[in-house]
């Protein structure tokens, strides 16, 4: 059993790495031009020439998925990076900045957590205007409160540790105390959460694109591809099925990697409980 799970983890790491690699070199591997319209070749099923078939405009679905990785994955990474930055800042200030500041910041955080992020992002994206950039900004602005909560808890746990007290007694400056002694230890657990969030953010981004708020039509973003192909579901299922499988495979891989990091990071999780 243990061995089986470890094998799963190794495969997950490999798939996640493969997806990241595809996002970098995908276009080099793409057999066709992802934007080349060829109406004579429209809605062809999977074949040797087009492994994943062609869409309603005769574009090669496989090539579009390969290009799409360059849209979806970087957008996801930007959202998580921005949200982590804001969340860490807010969480650290809340944990160290005194009771009043803590109360104010945590109530603001509550507001962010008080709505499903897809709804808040939908509203923000609508206000900012459609497009992938709006979706990314909107999502980053709605995603940070979870990290702020987490970082606040982590920093509060660490700040009274003996080694921090010792450093404080030795006269270490406040900034150095925060950046060298408190944050590095507190943030150890944060990267596990960010890895686990890759799939969730990716699903929301593709969801926003699917409903028409994120990436717009000719884009090879996976959610937008599914939306464009949905009208031809029965006579061109492959143009819907394969981009969805790409999303799912990537999400599963990142979830497994996140799980693996979590177990590795936390010796108290007993074998088999996770």
């Amino acid at each position: 059993m243990t061995r089986r799970i470890m094998a799963v983890d190794r495969i997950a790491l490999a798939v996640a790495a493969l997806m990241v690699a595809l996002a970098v070199v995908g276009p080099l591997l793409a057999p066709h031009d992802p934007y080349a319209v060829d109406l004579a070749d429209a809605l062809q099923g999977p074949s040797a020439a087009h492994w994943f078939g062609t869409d309603v405009n005769g574009r090669d679905v496989l090539s579009r998925i390969l290009y799409g990785a360059q849209v979806t994955l970087p957008a996801t990474v930007i959202v998580i990076a921005a949200a982590t930055l804001i969340g860490t800042l807010v969480g650290t200030v809340a944990a160290l900045g005194g009771k009043a500041l803590d109360e104010v910041l945590m109530r603001i955080t509550d507001i962010g957590l008080s709505l499903p992020s897809i709804i808040l992002a939908l509203g923000l994206a609508a206000a900012l205007g459609s497009g992938l950039r709006s979706a990314v900004v909107a999502l980053a602005l709605t995603w940070w409160p979870g990290y702020a909560r987490l970082v606040r808890t982590l920093v509060r746990e660490v700040k009274d540790a003996e080694y921090v007290d010792a450093a404080r007694t030795l006269g270490v400056s406040r900034a150095r105390l925060v950046f060298r002694h408190i944050l590095p230890n507190a943030l150890n657990s944060l990267y596990v959460q960010t890895t686990l969030d890759v799939s969730a953010v990716m699903l929301v981004i593709s969801g926003l694109s699917f409903v028409g708020v994120g990436a717009q039509v000719p884009s090879a973003e996976w959610g937008a591809m599914i939306a464009a192909a949905a009208n031809n579901l029965t006579n061109g299922w492959w143009a819907v099925a394969f981009p969805g499988l790409a999303i799912m495979l990537t999400a599963v891989a990142f979830n497994l990697v996140g799980d693996w990091l979590r177990v590795r990071n936390d010796p108290t999780i007993r074998e088999g409980v996770r």
Partner: protein, 347 residues
């Protein structure tokens, strides 16, 4: 306990006020002239000017916000440019269909996730557990809108077992009582329509539930495992209690507290996820309404939906806390410290 409730209520009011600020800011960041946006694309110059005065857009920002807040408190969410009706009326008309869908999805969620979690815990490490882990893994990774389309393809278009879209077959009619078609059919004793409405609910409800099953099954599994490893379970077993009794009575009971927290919060998340599901299945709920509103640049309709879902979400959170108090007597004595587990999984 009274102090705890009071604190929760105050927090909820603060959150709602914050929501009002956020939605007010949304009306401000809109590029271009908000008066023109509110009046609609085809409005004349006089109409735009009239809207500007009516919405107080000629006033200072704080005054505008006070006006906005006052209108919200009076239930005035503005007028939809697209439907030309008050947003509150639109949302009130759409909400029942969404609530119906969410409740159906929640029923499926509980019926699948709880037994799955308990069984996986009981057969820990065996094939059934691995299978359960696989199901939860896929559930957490599947794009709901894609799952909806795939289910439509297989069960409606190919196998023709279930209806493709809509809420009721053509020709069936039910009186409007609650607005939830299945419930209205039941209340009016129209069994044929009731069955038909349920058939129309199956695919969208399964689609909506899929992402949530994973989280609940995982939570139930790990709390049942923790319970099954404890001394009193060994004791219960040694007294000759049947396995079923040990697992269900003791194991499941302890899983109820964390599971109910998550299930309660999920009701709010599910309402949010309707934006990804309703349009695919041609259901006229607030999710579909919000999507149409976004695509039509109907800002007040979008904001109205955001506000209504936000209010539902806040109310749900208070209810979840009340249920927690009821299920877990220890909390009643505890002070006012926060005690809800941090829920890391978002949908």
């Amino acid at each position: 306990m009274g102090r705890f409730l009071l604190r929760r209520l105050v927090t909820s009011v603060v959150v709602l006020a914050g929501l009002a600020v956020v939605t007010f800011l949304m009306t401000q960041v809109l590029p271009g002239d908000p008066a023109r946006a509110a009046a609609g694309r085809n409005a004349t110059a006089e109409q735009v000017a009239e809207v500007r005065v009516r919405l107080g857009l000629d006033q200072s920002l704080p005054d505008q916000f006070t006006g906005y807040l006052g209108r919200l408190l009076h239930g005035d969410l503005g007028t939809s440019v697209f439907t030309q009706r008050p947003v509150l009326d639109d949302v009130a008309a759409m909400l029942p269909a969404s609530v119906e869908l969410v409740l159906a999805a929640m029923a499926i969620n509980i019926a699948v996730a709880v037994p799955l979690g308990v069984y996986a815990a009981y057969r820990r490490g065996r094939a059934a557990d691995v299978a359960a882990r696989l199901i939860t893994l896929l559930g957490a990774a599947v794009p709901v809108f894609w799952l909806g389309l795939m289910l439509q393809l297989v069960f409606a278009a190919q196998l023709r077992l279930l209806p493709l879209t809509g809420q009721l077959a053509f020709g069936q009619e039910v009186p409007k009582i609650t607005g939830m078609i299945s419930l209205d059919a039941l209340l009016s004793g129209n069994w044929a329509a009731f069955g038909d409405a349920l058939l129309h609910l199956v695919l969208p409800a399964v689609t909506l539930a899929a992402a949530f099953v994973a989280v609940v099954a995982r939570t139930v599994r790990s709390s049942v495992i923790t319970t099954l490893d404890s001394d009193y379970i060994t004791l219960a077993r040694s007294t000759g209690a049947s396995e079923l009794r040990v697992v269900v009575r003791h194991g499941l009971r302890n899983a109820l507290v964390p599971a109910s927290t998550i299930l309660g919060m999920q009701l709010g998340w599910m309402l949010g996820s309707t934006v990804l599901v309703e349009a695919i299945f041609g259901r006229t709920g607030i999710g579909a309404y919000a999507v149409t509103a976004v695509l039509q640049n109907d800002l007040y309709a979008v904001i109205g939906t955001v506000l209504v879902i936000g209010v539902v979400f806040v109310v749900m959170n208070v209810l979840v806390d009340l249920v927690q108090l009821w299920l877990n007597p220890r909390l009643r004595q505890a002070g006012s410290r926060e005690r809800r587990p941090e829920i890391a999984v978002r949908a």
